[in-house]
Amino acid sequence: MKELLDFFTKIGKLKKMPRRGWVINQIKTPESIADHTFRATIVGWVLGKEKSGLNIEKLLKIALVHNLSKIYSGDITPYDSILAQSKKKIKEIIETWPKFSKAEREKICKKKYQREKKALEKLISKLSPSLKKEIKNLWLDYEKGLTPEGRFFNQADRMENFLQALEYWKKYKKPSLGPWQEWAKEFFDDHLLIKVKNVLERRFLNSKKEDDNEIRKLTDFLTEIGRLKDIKRKGIMFYGVKDPETTAEHTFRMTLLAWILGRIDKRLNIEKVIKISLVHDLCEVYVGDITPYDGLLPEDEKERYEFVRKWPRLLKKVKEKRYTQKFKKEKQSLEKLVKKLPQGLKKEIFNLWWDYEIRSSKEGIFVHQIDRAENLLEAFDCYRRDKSFPTKPWWQHAEEVIDNPIILKFLNEISKEELKLKS
């Protein structure tokens, strides 16, 4: 378990790594790699479902691991080789998509691949042989396009980039759209993804041309869930953390945690575990992050300071009332989000969320507890960075919620680490 805790602590770094392409394009507060991976995974799932014959569980896993190497290799972009030679010309450079000869391209790709492979191997070196093998094979599938799932996700991943580029362009008039459109025209060759690209272009460029209605609904959904990259986790902000994680970042690490701890329990359906994790906070798109302290915070600053440093204690009737109110708000928000989706997908997402909320299956119960474990791990990460961060409320809550022996073992490792830091 110690190896897994170290692994997930490193994964947490992806929440703090801004996507370099957007930094180069001077985007204010750009998304992190974890933010991107969250939506890319859902893009892969939602669009992959429209294709026949794809193994969705495998596709989701490929999506979740495809950027793990960046923890050590950094985020390498096509601009890096040019920027290294001419940093001053940055504005000029980003106006065009970098063009390379075939030989140059091969050299750059090979170098990038070698660097990332080495980084991935370093990251997973201490994991169990079977987990190491699984992660490496999934990553290789993405890199080399070994199976239909790897090939499809490679393009779905870029579709998330393309959508994000359009969203930033609409908001900041950056990045320059020309190079992106030119690149997209050359890059996408999957029939469905070409249609999605065209619909996205028309949507963001306000074209009057009629869209494929079904695809338009899917792209609307994918655009809406992008809001989760901007929703800050309020619970952490109470303690003065200036750059709290987003809901998308939390969901990314939580999903990975659910899959990897979940694979220890052979009775769990891992595809369902991953999907429940991915959808569990989609309800926040319109209602934001509702915390257990909402509506209870004292007005007096000193009292408030003390109040958020322990878990709120309530009478059973009050708990029931607050639970019902939160549930109703979040249910309405989710219903609004999925309302226009194709029937099958709409039902699937709604029912997975329902399973999480009601805990109607062993997977729902498991993911509910993993959610709390990820929260605790995030609180511990904050404590590592700033020793005045109070982990007490997170521990108190986790100790009431978690009863799964595998997750309790994981918590025990966090406890040992925290005690080490305290001694």
């Binding site: 059973k316 708990k319 009431e400």
Partner: protein
């Protein structure tokens, strides 16, 4: 390895049995490809049933319920002389950090801490079991939390 025991109340057992029966009926309907009249039934949640449009999901849920039913242990209200001790099923009032909190100790299937239902296998649930009013128990993690037991109650359903 010993099978896991699921502690549940009589009320919850009734629910589990009913769900299992409903799904059996639904499965028969599906395999016969008949119009699912069951969907019009007022006492069934259509949102819930729509989940089982996919037969494999339905079968997985039925297997889950079957496993639970085979390993179920009914939570019984203890005799009066033992109702001063916390056992599964007890409603407990505790004082933590100078604030009053209320829990019910339940089995893992019924646990929902947001509603005050704590699993008997969670660190807090486990440490409370077997204690009486006036006892103080501590949950140890990097943070030590003391629970002072104020009241224990068993409710008949």
């Amino acid at each position: 390895m010993a099978e896991k025991k699921f502690y549940i109340t009589e009320e919850e057992l009734k629910k589990v049995k009913k769900e299992h029966k409903d799904l059996q009926t639904l499965k028969i309907i599906k395999t016969k490809s008949e119009v699912p009249n069951i969907w019009q039934s007022e006492d069934l949640n259509p949102e819930y049933l729509s989940f089982f449009e996919d037969v494999s999901l339905l079968e997985a849920r039925m297997a889950d319920l079957g496993y639970i039913l085979r390993n179920v242990e009914i939570i019984k209200i203890p005799p009066k002389e033992k109702q001063n001790i916390i056992n599964v099923g007890a409603h407990v009032a505790v004082e933590v950090d100078d604030q009053l909190d209320e829990f019910q100790i339940v089995g893992t299937l019924e646990a929902n801490p947001a509603l005050g239902k704590i699993s008997n296998e969670s660190p807090v649930g486990k440490v409370l079991l077997g204690h009486k009013v006036g006892d103080e128990v501590t949950v140890s993690s990097p943070i030590k939390t003391v629970y002072k037991i104020k009241k224990i109650k068993y409710l008949t359903s």
